[in-house]
């Protein structure tokens, strides 16, 4: 895929320091519309801190993040979600006491009308069909009416990912979607993400440790080590980069 043209997300020299520790140390990259970008790197290389800085969970020490040319640095997660940014979390984050179907509806209902209008909306907020479609896509039909908190880890992980896509976000940041997922399901997950990317057309940024998964999913990969971008480019080029190899083997 060509990386020319107007960037959709532009991360410019973002830094986040905790005292003397530089968790993210001047990271810049850009994401084009509809592109899937992978972020790899050893544990503790600052990937999740970078995500949280982009997503408003923490305030970066310096640097800028722009979405469609608009400066979104330091915006709250709520403001970002209203601008079409979705995410998944590294740890399980579903609404445990709600059914799977309600989890999915909850993930999109807040983008329909005003708070006052939603009080008088139908109970499914007009999202029932959309939820059923997502349930079918993720093959969750047999558990759709069970409380999400009672399901297995892998199932909750799928729900978590499905929730992020319910409202067709223009940018999704996925933090280790494969972690804890049964290896036999990893390929299925990859296909799901490709399908969602094709059908919904959003840009994805994916943090992942599963190299095979990321190499096959992402046309463009960024490798982070010790808070810095060590290498960037097509997966094959990054994989064969000497510094990257050293960083991984030396760990």
């Amino acid at each position: 895929m060509s990386r020319a043209g107007e960037p959709f997300l532009e991360v410019n020299d973002v830094r986040k320091a905790y005292g003397a520790i530089k968790a993210v140390d001047g990271v810049s990259f850009r994401v084009s519309p509809g592109e899937i970008v992978g972020v790899i790197g050893p544990n503790g290389s600052g990937k999740t801190t970078l995500f949280n800085s982009i997503l408003g969970q923490i305030k970066p020490t310096s640097g800028h993040v722009a979405l469609r040319g608009e400066d979104i640095t330091g915006m709250s997660p709520l403001e970002l979600s209203r601008r079409g940014v979705g995410r998944t979390f590294q740890t399980l984050q579903v609404f445990g006491k709600l059914s799977v179907r309600d989890n999915l509806i909850a993930a999109a209902q807040e983008f329909r009308g005003s708070i006052a209008s939603r009080l008088f909306a139908p109970p499914d907020a007009g999202l029932g069909e959309e939820a059923e479609r997502m349930i079918a896509l993720f093959r969750l039909q047999h558990v759709a009416h069970l409380e999400a908190g009672t399901l297995s880890y892998g199932q909750q992980k799928l729900i978590d990912i499905a929730m992020a896509f319910m409202r067709k976000p223009q940018l999704v940041l996925l933090d280790e979607p494969c972690a804890g997922v049964n290896p036999s399901l990893v390929e299925e997950l990859r296909e799901l993400l490709v399908t969602l990317n094709r059908e919904q057309g959003g840009s994805f940024v994916v943090i992942e440790h599963n190299m095979d998964f990321i190499m096959r999913l992402c046309p463009h990969v960024i490798c982070m080590v010790e808070g810095k971008v060590l290498a960037e480019g097509p997966p094959a080029a990054v994989q064969s980069n000497r510094q990257v190899l050293e960083a991984y083997l030396g760990n």
């Binding site: 949280n52 969970q57 923490i58 979390f89």
Partner: protein, 291 residues
């Protein structure tokens, strides 16, 4: 002017007692993640224990020492083992509810099993007052300030100067890191519970002469302890001291210059002002949200 200084001094003395209860409250929160809604009852029980020993013929000092030991055993060790340990895994809310239930149970036990009356309690300090340049300060206030001050200084020295104290601080600041450093976290947490119980017993000795020993005397001091802790900064032990003294002094001033009827409202108004203008507390540091 004389009035004003007197009000400040006696307010500081009362505030120092609030601070003792608040200090234990803060330590419990930091080290064990416990919000203890029965903190007031932790002060009330030693007061009755002391009355019991005095009725058995013990002098006040002996009654106090015995009550401290009982308090540490029951309200320190017993509280941790019987209530906190089984509940901590359910999260903060069930534990808060359990301490509310405990507060009701303890209060009602004293009321139903012993007495609903207020019982006089001898002051550990001599009656009378000291007059300097037309300002009268009671011996009780001086004694309270000295004893509370000594306890606080001693506790700070213990926390800052001894290996055990530093280990306890490490646990309070970051339990996981402390564990990695090889600190016996369980033991340190137990120490915090014991210290809390001890502080409560001292607060009981100091406050009961004015509050009188009554089954519901803990309501007021428990609330003051919460608010003192938040006003000063929930994550700072020094904050609890500042918050306690501030409440004590302002209560006295409001009671004298505005209306004694609204003395009890001072802590709340201070609390609302603090969360409006300095939500992390006067001495607190703001914490970043954890994901």
């Amino acid at each position: 002017m004389g009035d004003f200084v007197q009000l400040i001094v006696s307010g500081t003395a009362t505030g120092a007692i609030y601070a003792l209860a608040a200090l234990g409250f803060t330590l419990l929160w930091q080290a064990a993640g416990v919000i203890n809604f029965a903190q007031g009852e932790f002060v009330m029980l030693p007061a009755f224990a002391m009355l019991f020993w005095i009725a058995m013929g013990a002098p006040l000092w002996l009654a106090f020492i015995l009550s401290c030991a009982m308090s540490m055993l029951v309200l320190g060790y017993g509280f941790k083992v019987a209530i906190v340990d089984p509940l901590i895994k359910h999260g903060v809310i069930p534990l808060v509810i359990a301490t509310l239930g405990l507060s009701i149970a303890v209060k009602s036990t004293i009321r139903a099993g012993y007495s609903a009356e207020a019982h006089p309690f001898a002051s550990p300090f001599p009656a009378g007052q000291l007059s300097i340049a037309g300002i009268n300060v009671s011996f009780a206030d001086i004694g309270t300030l000295l004893l509370a001050g000594a306890i606080v200084v001693g506790l700070q020295a213990f926390l800052n100067r001894t290996v055990t104290g530093r280990a306890m601080q490490a646990v309070a600041q970051n339990t996981e890191a402390a564990r990695v450093l090889g600190i016996d976290v369980r033991r340190m947490v137990l120490y915090v519970f014991l210290i809390n119980a001890l502080l409560a017993a001292v607060a009981a000795l100091l406050i009961t002469p004015t509050y009188l020993a009554k089954f519901d005397m803990g309501d007021s001091i428990g609330q003051k302890a919460f608010f003192a802790a938040i006003i000063g900064g929930f994550n700072q032990t020094r904050g609890a001291l500042l918050g306690g003294v501030l409440i004590g002094v302002l209560e006295n001033l409001v009671g004298f210059y505005i209306s004694p009827a609204y003395k009890e409202g001072v802590a709340l108004v201070l609390f609302l002002l603090v969360i409006l203008f300095r939500p992390e507390g006067l001495l607190g540091k703001s914490e970043e949200r954890k994901v």
